[in-house]
């Protein structure tokens, strides 16, 4: 019997169609049909200048958008052969790991819900909400953040971020402990997850599966360890490995990875190089609106010397922060606003990067940059032909290869096992179909 687990299905994360051939309750064959969320990301990137593709990369793996942003930025920076500043690298590591925790929370929460554990889902979404508040404080948005820029990031970390993160992590650890107590030794959960969706090491390597899926089979491959980028080589963290390659191992690997991600963020916050000096020569700081009001009323004496407090999410554009988070590369990074509006060199620099026909022009060449996405190795292959637009941008999607292996995972199991298996695949439609 053929059963169509159709594109529109409550248990499907995103849109995918699985045509299963059943013999009673047992699955004997599957055919997976994808492409329902194909939006032509690669074709659109060829039309836009390099930095304009940033919002598109947000929408690739939309549960961990920061990782996509920084992967793309890393590829373009490699093409241009520029190095982001140290503070910028630390910020990227912190935000990537926070994104990774969000992704794992969503994955485990959603797959637990499908098995009937509604409480766990709500707890994990609550935890994710705290992380989204952190992300919003830094980037200005919760999900589609467009935070990365070639050569830097959009803005610096706001004041008090370390304190807020510490508080958030305390709360999240409590939530994870609760969910752990609810699920890990839960008879129903274990029975459904253990022994289902098994894949062997050889098959996983042959299907070029990476990420927590591969590590659950026992292969120790983590891009952050094997080919470290940013400042991951300075971070001490463990890479959890599974043994059996079944759904339960994947769940355990993801739970442990969240803890390791929090560990990385804490180390990064402790080791991040100094931020901008906050006060002016007289130690006064006033909000921008107040400065304007004072000036309108005519109280301009001494106003020029006062440091103005702009919106935290715009901090990257002012001189105080600019040099710390953006690489000193005139070919790719916009000047701070004081220079762009203040002197002619800044204006010309700004013009050269923004006007049509000018812009970021990497030399002809190609590069493949891989970061550790939440699902596995997220690779960006960018070909440049010397113009201000990329010639070809290819995204190597981690869950594409995992979905290709879905028949291997499903055949032999019962139909009901499709739900936990598919949940642990963590298929993100935006990333798979682009």
């Amino acid at each position: 019997m053929f059963l169509n687990v159709g594109p529109s299905h409550p248990a499907m994360h995103g849109i995918v169609r699985i045509v299963t051939e059943l013999d009673g309750e047992r699955i004997v064959g599957t055919d997976v049909e994808i492409g329902y969320l194909h939006r032509g990301f690669e074709k659109m990137c060829e039309r836009e200048p390099y930095n304009n593709a940033m919002p598109y990369t947000d929408r690739l793996n939309y549960v961990s958008p920061l990782i996509n942003n920084f992967g793309y930025c890393m590829a373009i920076e490699r093409l241009l052969d520029i190095q982001p500043t140290e503070r910028c690298q630390y910020i990227r590591v912190i935000m990537s790991e926070i994104s990774r925790i969000c992704d794992h929370l969503t994955c485990i929460g959603a797959s637990a819900m499908e098995l009937g554990a509604f409480t766990v889902f709500l707890y994990m979404i609550k935890a994710r909400e705290w992380l989204w508040e952190l992300i919003e404080a830094v980037t200005g948005a919760r999900l589609t953040i467009s935070y990365g820029r070639v050569g830097g990031v959009k803005a610096d970390l706001p004041e008090g971020f370390a304190q807020r993160t510490k508080q958030a992590f305390e709360d999240i650890r409590r939530v994870l402990l609760e969910c752990d107590t609810l699920l890990t030794r839960n008879r129903i959960f274990v029975d459904r997850m253990q022994g289902t969706g098994v894949i062997s090491k050889e098959d996983a390597i042959s299907y070029s599966i990476t990420g927590p899926f591969l590590r659950a089979t026992g292969v120790n491959y983590d891009v952050r360890r094997q080919q470290p980028y940013f400042v991951y080589d300075r971070m001490a963290f463990d890479v959890p490995l599974g043994e059996h390659g079944d759904n339960y191992d994947r769940y355990l690997v993801r739970m442990e990875e969240m803890e390791q991600s929090m560990r990385i963020v804490e180390q990064a916050l402790a080791g991040i190089p100094a931020g901008p000096v906050q006060v002016d020569h007289e130690g006064r700081v006033i909000p921008a609106a107040m400065m304007v009001d004072e000036a309108k009323l005519g109280h301009t004496r001494g106003l020029k010397a006062v440091e103005v407090e702009t919106d935290p999410t715009l901090s990257g554009s002012t001189k105080r922060f600019h040099g710390l988070i953006n690489s000193p590369e005139k070919r790719a990074v916009l000047p701070p606003k004081e220079d762009a509006y203040g002197n002619i060199e800044g204006l010309m620099h700004h013009f050269k990067l923004v006007m049509v026909g000018h812009g970021i022009r990497p030399p002809q060449g190609e590069v493949y940059a891989a970061v550790e996405g939440a699902n596995g190795e997220l690779g960006f292959y960018v070909v440049s032909d010397g113009s201000d637009r990329p010639y070809r941008v290819r995204v190597r999607p981690p869950c594409f290869t995992i979905m290709a292996a879905l028949p291997v995972l499903l055949v032999g199991d019962m139909l009901a096992d499709l739900v936990p298996t598919f949940g642990s695949v963590n298929m993100i439609g935006g990333e798979m179909d682009r």
Partner: protein, 236 residues
């Protein structure tokens, strides 16, 4: 770096008849081979203990139809601006060259690549980092509009390699490597869907991202971006 050099030297020595060229650029190692030798070379790369590329990370294609010929590629002013007195020209350390039709293309290190480096244009790029048989490369790869690109990764040696197979658009057929890496199955389907390159020996070569009745290959440069082909439902 010496690891990489020995890899290209190894490939040149093992398969002199298939290797069209090698180069290193921005820390990536690339190997260009003829399409006839693809299966042999891939099998060697996967099985030989010196290379041991057990992961096929990515399989994709690039269409070089408008490479360097786009309006945006041309620099907006003919003469570069001179550098201000406090700047030194940036030395061009690496050069990337692709095979095939190079008429009208801009060379690496040209003014278009480096907006504030006037002096180095005259200084010109130095000799390439690798001695490649360029005449043979060009002759063999002329008219190669498409290039199928394989990204390999060796877990035991923690090393990456890019394999490129130039292919003409008229007879875009390449051997399928699904027998070596199962990941190639879906990757090759996507290349067929987006670029129209057939894979000989593929078990199930049909469209993967687009719907079956779709006409054309969208990622080719001559497929217009704004063309619409709505899929209309059943008439009843």
């Amino acid at each position: 770096m010496s690891e990489n050099l020995s890899l290209s030297a190894l490939m040149q020595e093992q398969f002199p008849q298939w290797v069209l060229g090698t180069h290193q650029y921005r820390g990536d190692e690339t190997l260009l081979i003829k399409r006839e030798g693809l299966l042999e070379v891939c099998r060697f790369l996967r099985d030989d203990p010196r290379t041991a590329f057990n992961f096929l990370m990515d399989l994709t294609c690039v269409d070089y139809l408008t490479f360097g010929k786009r309006l945006e590629s041309m620099p907006t002013t003919a003469t570069p601006s001179p550098l201000p007195y406090f700047m030194k020209p940036k030395p061009v350390t690496e050069q990337w060259e692709r095979t095939g039709d190079r008429a009208g293309t801009i060379r690496a290190g040209d003014r278009a690549g480096n907006i504030l480096s006037g002096e180095e244009v005259s200084a010109a790029a130095g000799p390439p980092t690798e001695e490649v048989p360029r005449a043979a490369e060009r002759a063999a790869a002329d008219g190669a509009r498409l290039e199928v690109v394989y990204h390999l990764y060796s877990h035991t040696r923690t090393r990456r390699l890019r394999l490129k197979v130039p292919v003409g658009a008229a007879d875009a057929v390449v051997d399928s490597v699904t027998g070596l890496w199962k990941a190639a199955d879906w990757f090759e389907r996507e290349v067929w869907d987006m670029f129209g390159v057939r894979f000989e020996g593929h078990p199930n070569l049909k469209r993967i991202l687009m719907y079956e009745p779709f006409d054309g290959h969208p990622l080719r440069k001559d497929y217009p971006v704004n063309k619409r082909q709505p899929l209309l439902g059943p008439t009843n």
